[in-house]
C-alpha cells in the first residue's frame, strides 16, 4: 500500500483528509465533506464559475489551462446533454498523485464532479480511471454507491432539487487515452485515438454533447476551493498560479512521496529539504521536473519556482508535477532511451511523425546505447525529435520530442562518451539483457 509522507512545509488543502479514512462517506461528511456542494447549489452556476476563475486554479493534468475559464466556455444553451468527464487515466511516468486521491479521498472527486456539473448545466459525470487502478476503481464504485444511498447523488440531491448522476469507468491500458479527445473516444468504446480539434470538447464532446474534461486532481481541488474560499486559495500560490499542488517526488531522493506544496515552491528546496536530499549522499545529476514529457534540468538549473510560468521561463514545464530525481550514477543515454521506449510503445500510430518518429528514435538510441553509434547519430536524434515537434494531431509527439531534444542538448558529452567507450561506459553490471530496450 502506498505510504503517506509529510513535511512541515506542506499546505494540506486537498490532501488534508488523506490517511483519515475519508473513503468512508460518514468520515468524509464529518470532515466537512459535501458542504461545498451545498454552498454551490445555493449560490448558483454563475457564482461558481466566477469563484473558480478567482481561485486561479489551473488544470493539474499538465497543460495548466485556467479551470474557471474552461467551464465558462461551455454554451449555456444546448440541444444536447452536457457532460463532465474526470480524467483519472494517470499514466505519465513519474506521476502518481491521483492514485492517492482515489485511495484516500474519492468523495472529493465525486463532490468536485457534481459542482462542475452544476456550473455547466450537466446532469451526468463520468469518472475514468486507468485499467491498472482496479483496486482504486472498487473504492470509487463503493464511494459512488454510498453517495447515492445517502442522497448526495441522483435525484433531488440533499433536498435541493438538483439532479446529478456519476458513473465510474475503467480503461484498459493506454497512455494516449490521457489526452482529452482520446479519452472521449475510449469512453465511447473505441480505440483511444485523438480527435481533430476544433471542435473543442466544451462545444462537441462525448456523445456529441458539450463536455468539460478535467484532471482528477483539478476536480478534487474544487470542493476545497469552496471550503476555504477562492481568494484564500489563490493567495496560497504564486502569481497567476493559484493554490497548491500535489508534487510527486521519485527517483534518487531519501524520502520519495507525494507532498502538497504551494504553487511556486522552490524545486531545490523541495528536493533537498522536503524530500531529504539525494539518496545515499550521492551527487545530483539531473531532474525531470513534471513527468517524463518535460525537458530535463541540469543540477545547476534547479533553483526555480515550481509553477507553470516559472518552469516555462526555465525552458521546461510543470506538467503533471511528477518530479523525477537522478543522481550521478545514471547514464543519460540509457535514461533517454527508456523515456523514448515508453513513447514508442504508447504512440497510437494514427499520425506519421509520432508513429515513425518514436520508432526511429528508439531504434537509433538502442543501437547508440549498445555501442553501435556513429558521431552523426547525435545530431540525427535531435533532428528527428525537432521534426516531430508541433507536427502531430495530439501532444504525444511533443511529449516524446521535447525531453529527447533536452537530453541531447544538455548532456551531449555523455552521448559523445558512448562513441568512445563501447558498450555503455556507465552500464551497471549484469543488467540490460531482459530490459527489452
Amino acid at each position: 500500500m502506498p505510504e503517506l509522507v509529510s513535511h512541515p512545509d506542506e499546505v494540506k488543502v486537498i490532501s488534508y483528509r488523506f490517511g483519515q479514512g475519508a473513503a468512508n462517506l460518514d468520515k468524509y461528511v464529518e470532515l466537512g465533506g459535501y458542504e461545498s456542494l451545498k454552498k454551490c447549489i445555493a449560490q448558483g452556476p454563475e457564482w461558481v464559475i466566477n469563484e473558480m476563475k478567482a481561485s486561479g486554479l489551473r488544470g493539474r493534468g499538465g497543460a495548466g489551462f485556467p479551470t474557471g475559464l474552461k467551464w465558462s466556455f461551455v454554451p449555456k444553451q444546448s440541444d444536447r446533454a452536457k457532460y463532465v468527464l474526470v480524467n483519472g487515466d494517470e499514466s505519465e511516468p513519474g506521476t502518481c498523485k491521483d492514485h492517492l486521491i482515489f485511495l484516500h479521498d474519492p468523495h472529493a472527486i465525486i463532490e468536485g464532479t457534481i459542482i462542475a456539473g452544476l456550473a455547466i448545466g450537466a446532469k451526468t459525470g463520468f469518472i475514468y480511471l486507468r485499467g491498472e487502478y482496479r483496486y482504486l476503481l472498487q473504492i470509487m464504485e463503493k464511494a459512488i454507491a454510498d453517495a447515492y444511498a445517502q442522497g448526495y447523488l441522483g435525484k433531488n440531491i440533499m433536498g435541493t432539487g438538483f439532479d446529478f448522476d456519476v458513473i465510474s469507468h475503467t480503461g484498459a491500458g493506454a497512455y494516449e487515452v490521457g489526452e482529452e479527445s482520446a479519452l472521449m473516444e475510449s469512453l465511447e468504446g473505441k480505440r483511444g485515438i485523438p480527435r481533430i480539434k476544433p471542435p473543442f470538447p466544451a462545444v462537441v464532446g462525448i456523445y456529441g454533447g458539450p463536455t468539460v474534461i478535467n484532471n482528477a486532481e483539478t476536480i478534487a481541488a474544487v470542493p476545497s476551493i469552496f471550503r476555504i474560499g477562492a481568494a484564500e486559495y489563490a493567495k496560497l500560490g504564486s502569481e497567476r498560479n493559484g493554490g497548491t499542488r500535489l508534487f510527486g517526488i521519485s527517483g534518487h531522493v531519501e524520502r520519495p512521496g507525494v507532498y502538497e506544496l504551494p504553487m511556486g515552491y522552490n524545486l531545490k528546496k523541495m528536493i533537498y529539504e522536503v524530500a531529504g536530499g539525494i539518496k545515499d549522499g550521492k551527487k545530483l545529476k539531473a531532474v525531470v521536473p513534471g513527468g517524463s514529457s518535460t525537458p530535463v534540468l541540469k543540477a545547476d538549473e534547479i533553483d526555480v519556482g515550481m509553477d507553470f510560468d516559472q518552469m516555462g521561463k526555465a525552458g521546461t514545464m510543470l506538467g503533471s508535477a511528477g518530479v523525477v530525481v537522478l543522481d550521478e550514477s545514471v547514464c543519460m543515454v540509457e535514461f533517454a532511451l527508456r523515456t523514448i521506449k515508453f513513447y514508442q510503445h504508447e504512440s497510437c500510430g494514427w499520425c506519421i511523425p509520432c508513429r515513425e518518429g518514436t520508432d526511429w528514435l528508439k531504434k537509433t538510441l538502442t543501437r547508440f546505447h549498445a555501442g553501435g553509434g556513429v558521431a552523426k547519430d547525435i545530431d540525427n536524434i535531435k533532428y528527428l525529435a525537432e521534426n516531430m515537434l508541433g507536427r502531430t494531431f495530439c501532444p504525444l509527439g511533443d511529449a516524446a520530442a521535447m525531453p529527447t531534444i533536452a537530453f541531447v542538448k544538455k548532456f551531449r558529452e555523455e552521448f559523445e562518451d558512448h562513441l568512445n567507450g563501447k558498450p555503455c561506459p556507465y552500464a551497471k553490471a549484469g543488467v540490460g539483457e531482459l530490459v527489452g530496450v
Partner: protein, 176 residues
C-alpha cells in the same frame, strides 16, 4: 438485451445487462466488459468476443479492433498470477530492471512467458502509477511497492502457496 445463453457466470451476466444501460450509448460499456470478462474467463476467447459483440451490438471484428489497442486486453491466457514489473523511469532508477531480471531468473521465464505449470506469467510493463513507491510490481491487480529482490521472493512464494492450497483461489481482481 438479456442474453439467454451466456458463457459468463450469472453474476457477471447480470452485471453486463446493467452496464450496457448505464451509458447513453451501449458501446461505451465495451472496454470495461472486455476487462471484466477477461478476469473471469482468463482471456478474450472467440466465444467471449462473440458474446460481448452481441451485447454491445457490434461485429466481432469491431470488438477485436478495440482489443488490439489496449495493453491490458489479451487473447491468450496469462498465468494464474500475472507478474507485471514496471521498469519505467522512476522504477528504473530504484532497481526496476534488476527486479525484472530477478523475477525472470526466479521463475525461469522471460517477458510475456508463462511457467509450464501455468501459475506465473511475467511481463515488463510501462508506468503503473506507483512512481513514488518504486520499484513497484503489479500481480494481477495487487500493487506491491518499495520492493527488493528478497521481498519479491517472499511475494512470489505467497502466490505460489495460494495457487497450491486452493487451485481456484483468486487474487482480488479476478471475477470482479
Amino acid at each position: 438485451m438479456s442474453t439467454t445463453i451466456t458463457i459468463f457466470s450469472p453474476e457477471l451476466a447480470a452485471r453486463f445487462d446493467k452496464l450496457v444501460t448505464a451509458y447513453p450509448v451501449r458501446r461505451s460499456a465495451l472496454v470495461p466488459m472486455l476487462l471484466y470478462a477477461q478476469d473471469e474467463v482468463g482471456c478474450l476467447s472467440d466465444a467471449v468476443i462473440e458474446e460481448i459483440a452481441e451485447r454491445v451490438q457490434l461485429s466481432p471484428l469491431e470488438v477485436r479492433n478495440v482489443i488490439s489497442y489496449y495493453s491490458l486486453l489479451h487473447l491468450k491466457p496469462h498465468g494464474k498470477f500475472h507478474v507485471q514489473v514496471c521498469t519505467n523511469i522512476s522504477c528504473m532508477l530504484r532497481g526496476g530492471n534488476e527486479l525484472l531480471a530477478h523475477c525472470s531468473q526466479r521463475l525461469g521465464i522471460g517477458h510475456k512467458e508463462t511457467t509450464p505449470d501455468g501459475v506465473f506469467s511475467l511481463e515488463e510493463v510501462e508506468c503503473i502509477g506507483a512512481c513514488c513507491w518504486a520499484p513497484a510490481v503489479q500481480v494481477n491487480y495487487d500493487f506491491h511497492d518499495n520492493l527488493t529482490p528478497e521481498a519479491m521472493d517472499k511475494i512470489l512464494d505467497e502466490y505460489r502457496a495460494k495457487a497450491q492450497s486452493a487451485p481456484k483461489a483468486d487474487s482480488n481482481g479476478k471475477g470482479v
